[in-house]
Amino acid sequence: MLELNNQYTLIKRRVQTEVLKQFFDETLEQDADKIPFLIIPKERIPNRCCIYKERAMIRYRIMAMLGIDIERFDDEMKPLTEYVKEVMVKDTPAVPILTTISTACSACPPDRYLISDACRGCFARPCLANCPKDCITFSHGQAHIEEDRCIRCGKCKEVCPFHAVVHIPVPCEEACPVNAVKKNEDGYVEIDYKKCISCGRCAMSCPFGAIVERSGLIPVVKMLKAQQHVTAMIAPAIEGQFPGTLAQIKQALLSCGFSSVVEVSQGAETTSIHEAHELTHRKESGAGYMTTSCCPAYMEVVDKHLPFLSERRSEALSPMGYIAQWCKEQNPETKTIFIGPCLAKKVEAIRLGTIDGVMTFSELASLFMAKGVDVREMESADLGDTASFEDCRQFAVSSGVAGCVLNRLEGSQEVNVLPINGIDKKMFRAMKIWEKRPPEADLIEVMCCEGGCINGPGTIVKPSVALKLRGGNKAATPVKAMRDPLVRSEMHERK
């Protein structure tokens, strides 16, 4: 997958910030079409063919941010202001989460192996000897691959002593764990929504930004502007994403117009207790392994690809589900907005019906910038009594969910835990086998993103940075937290 911070993500955040600024200034309905010119000025040296294409792409980013399904409803003759007027009146449907911009797609040639000029045409010729399809030929003193016979097994690449064989993948197809990303007959990207699990890996992988998420931000800022009672439900992964503590992040949200802020970790406590009970029950009755159920992309995997696991997953709601219920019980009028690193949560939100909006950390960053809110300068808001669910903030990190469940088991039980740290193609194949050969475990914790939610598609900082800023007041002084060897050794001791 691409580096998290690249030209594309940074420009996307600038676009979002500009749109939000105009939205709050009430100029978006007149001036939306000016944004591409603002972001891509005449003097810019383009990364694409020309500034005009770059501007057209900015236009599409804005459409995605407005929640337009570009793949289906792109009308090039229609000005952005018209789209804005429409979404101000009526929210767009939230699914499908992802959409494609065919003109951004580079129509990458199919995935292939290529022998480069580094080939010395050696005497041993291990490529020739190991190719199962006999498709290596030699001419002009170098090896070549016969494209039509090659089955892309990669053997030649493995054995070449000069590393002369290169694998040229199609990034989006390679990233999709369930083969939902395909090319149409013209070679442009298409998503098979019947297979798509909304994990967002393809969108994070395309270096051209041709796969985009349809944002749910506009409905949320509309609620904020209308001064409705809006509750921000912040996912456990938020800690470490901003330069400030949880208490400061809470204050920053309040100053953006949210009426109240709750931690989803509170709901995670209910999830853990529920799963601990279930686990005990299953063990006693000899029902076999149980999987966690908090990762919505994994839920999609089960529903769309591995139905045999539907009896295996816990019946507990996700932390988001429980906290949303709780919020609605406290105040039935409140609008519940989940703020997390996840795209698939949008699918889950629709299924549950108790969540009124989902936004990502990345979108929250744009909101902070548009509002001129500096998390670091915020006072500390009162987080309330967090003692009972403090450990549940670890739900954001691989193995963290299982840890919380084990903490809540009654009595001493021997539990065999198997963490699934990221579902890629290989792991997906491995999970298929569970139907025939059940894994030797009692509790399987599944996280679709490698490392856990802190590596989700909606994050801002790399997991390596986020991990060092999580816990205590570390994020208040990020540079110190990264430098301090003391802090690190403390963390080791705690383990």
Partner: protein
Amino acid sequence: MGKREKVLVKICVGTACFVQGGADLLLYNDFLDPVVLANCEIEGSSCLGMCKMSSTKARPPFVQIGTEVYGDMTQERFCKLLAEAVNA
């Protein structure tokens, strides 16, 4: 060669800088040349105010090296500028 004063470096950790790539600079222990690192005093800083100035074309993240403030900072550029500052 006499003992030189360390170069004072301030990485802006205001929200705009932090989220627009500034967080990556915090990994300086991993990507800076240790010799350069030894000659620098690196600290975090509140918003340097540059992002709000309309006169500058530079964008976040900002870093102050000595008395000079630089925008559009990347790990590569950070390495280069610090090496220059230390060897100046």
